[in-house]
Chain length 118, copies 2
Amino acid sequence: MSTALESPKMVVEAPAECCSLAATPIGAADAECLAKRLKALSDPTRLRVLSHVAAQGCEAVCACDLIEVLDISQPTVSHHLKKLVEAGLLTREQRGRWAHYTVVREAFTELHQFLDLR
Amino acid sequence: MSTALESPKMVVEAPAECCSLAATPIGAADAECLAKRLKALSDPTRLRVLSHVAAQGCEAVCACDLIEVLDISQPTVSHHLKKLVEAGLLTREQRGRWAHYTVVREAFTELHQFLDLR
């Protein structure tokens, strides 16, 4: 539906195969990848931006709406959206003046599975 | 089973009520708490330490075993364990010379629920 316009080199690659904390201990490469994604989630403002995009489900959200709803400046919103795209958690699609963002569900499935201790 | 010996003031408090990214956008207070927990998970070495403790299930793991298995120095292992305890992700119990660590399952249930986009 949406097209990521940023360089693929910047996006964090998913681990070759998903792992869970409750299973065998993870290796160094998977730990590196998961840590990058978790780092992108470790800022409260970024979590609020992400949560507004995620709450729209599969619908792309305009950066302009986030600025209004969260009452955060455009440079701040853009900075956080860029970090989330680089971490492979959002995709970005330019529509005229504004970029629109959608969650990458697969990335969250992996994190969700990793944090499953049941 | 295990007793947390560190000051409760240092441990990140859980959000009053759990939230999910797929539901309504999160508030500033919940975002602050979740970001702290996610920040504690955003280091690859720390993830490997945590994953070794989590893989033992409900059993407490001696810091001495982590040093041996992961081939990491004692100060480094201690530093990462301290961060995980402060974030409310592990509990610590002193047994003689060595401290033993267990995962706080409730903390992971919250993170797991938060990252559920299904």
